[in-house]
Amino acid sequence: MVEPKIVVEAVSKTYDPDVLALAEVSLDLAERSFTCLLGPSGCGKSTLLNVIAGFVEPTTGRVLVDGREVVRPGADRGVVFQEYALFPWRTAVENVEFGPLMRGLARPERRRTAERYLGLVGLGEHGSKYPAELSGGMKQRVAIARALANDPSVLLMDEPFGALDAQTREVMQEELLRIWQQDKKTVVFVTHSISEAVFLADRIVVMGTRPGRIKEVIDVPLDHPRERSTPEFVALERALKGLVREEVARLGII
């Protein structure tokens, strides 16, 4: 059997003694898979992503990437944040250059790399603009290019399209799939949008609340490109909606 790319071994996390953000979560993710962590707020999906990224230390358990335990953030795991997290004092192309700069690439080479990835996300013409001059969708494109320019084997995305309007969001989902199909990273994508999860993922990990845990893992049997109006798509959406609603109900009145 092929060794999984990411192994989550009985990871739990308590932020303060009474609140169990994540309770004994175990999960194997195959290389080049696209996994969505889906659930309402408070289900620990972002916490789990932050543990894989190395931002948050688990209270118990551990995460292995390529068989090595995660102890800190690293260039092998690129991260895309909902808030874009672009360096505002760097232009778009300088933001994308950041990873190559840290790797110690010479200036012409890192500029070339950055321009190639900006081109990949469709922003070849906007390299000299500062983040403040870009729209939300463009900022997130720069952030994706910046994460990819390091050629990480894992791409971690924390509700990356959550701050975008509905139209831009759908375009970005299609763009992400286009890019992923050219260069298949192992993607872990956090979302609370059922439709987004069904549109993107090979595998959907539905997470439950109080405590945060895995409720169900669903393999998505649909081929890409997916059409949101097909009966299979709609049926899967409905089934997931039932699962997520149960968890929302557990939170009481919201």
Partner: protein, 293 residues
């Protein structure tokens, strides 16, 4: 039945009606101003100030007669005093002496304030160790220590430079500390996940993120240096703009007293314009964002 609605939509698409009349746009209270208009207003502000000064001193001399006119000379008298002092070279000696003290004191404060702010901003232990003492000293007007500094450092240049350095240190230290401490943690995470070590995160993320607040601190610190130099030169000095004012008081040369103040104002104004320009160049990314937001 849905047909009529659909029909209406189609009809509307085929014959677009005149666009609805737009509500009159209310003038924005703080709309943008053209650069030339802004420059005109700024020049008018300066002209108005001098006109008001002139008007008050004329009124005092000929109409209302509150003070002895000698006590409130008009701008021309002050200008003449300035020309006379400039011609003899005395004025430039005073300006040079004050500027040299301010620059030395400010540079010491800048180096100490930025370095200390960076160190304390990086270390929780240092912060808890240093912060209470700083917060205790900060509310004491620096002037309270001036006589002590004269005792410690003598009546020469050292006491004045030390006094300026002490006064300017606080705003620079505080703003540097805040800038370092409140660097956006998500940017730090982003850099770490791009392979940056702690040391490189400091140089490439935390320091640039803190730059706007450090520059604000330097500007405040420079302003404060000018603010306190006059007081320092009142006590034990034989040159400098503060000395000029104090000396003029002794000899009842009111025009010279006003001249000293006016020169300090002009220098401060010029330096501030220069610093703002430097700030604009260093923080280009921020200016771009001010247009939107």
């Amino acid at each position: 039945m849905e047909a009529p609605a659909l029909e209406r939509l189609r009809a509307a698409a085929a014959h677009p009606a005149a666009p609805p009349a737009r509500a009159p746009v209310r003038p924005r209270r703080r709309g943008p101003l053209s650069t030339s208009a802004a420059a005109g207003l700024r020049a008018a502000s300066v002209a108005l100030f001098f006109a008001a000064w002139w008007g008050v001193s004329l009124a005092n001399a000929y109409v209302i007669k509150v003070f002895n006119p000698v006590l409130l000379p008009d701008p021309w008298v002050v200008l003449q005093a300035g020309i006379k002092l400039a011609a003899s070279g005395e004025l430039f000696g005073h300006i040079g002496a004050s500027l040299a003290r301010v620059v030395q004191g400010f540079l010491i404060a800048a180096a100490a304030g930025v370095l200390a702010g960076m160190a304390v901003g990086r270390s929780r232990v240092l912060e808890h160790l240093v912060d209470p003492s700083i917060e205790m000293l900060r509310p004491i007007p620096p002037l309270a220590f001036l006589p002590l500094m004269v005792l410690w450092f003598g009546i020469g240049e050292a006491s004045k430079v030390a006094f300026i350095a002490y006064a300017a240190f606080f705003p620079i230290f505080t703003t540097t500390l805040e800038g370092i401490k409140y660097a956006d943690p998500i940017l730090i995470r982003a850099a770490a996940s791009l392979g940056a070590s702690d040391r490189r995160i400091f140089w490439h993320v935390i320091l640039p993120a803190a730059t706007p607040s450090i520059i604000t601190g330097l500007r405040l610190g420079f302003g404060l240096s000018f603010f306190v130099i006059v007081a320092a030169e009142f006590i034990a000095a034989d040159r400098g703009l503060g000395f000029l004012i104090n000396d003029a008081r002794t000899f009842f040369l009111v025009a010279n007293m006003l001249l000293g103040a006016a020169v300090i104002g002009l220098i401060g104004f010029g330096v501030n314009v220069g610093l703002r320009r430097l700030e604009g160049r260093l923080l280009r990314w921020r200016r771009e964002s001010r247009g939107r937001a």
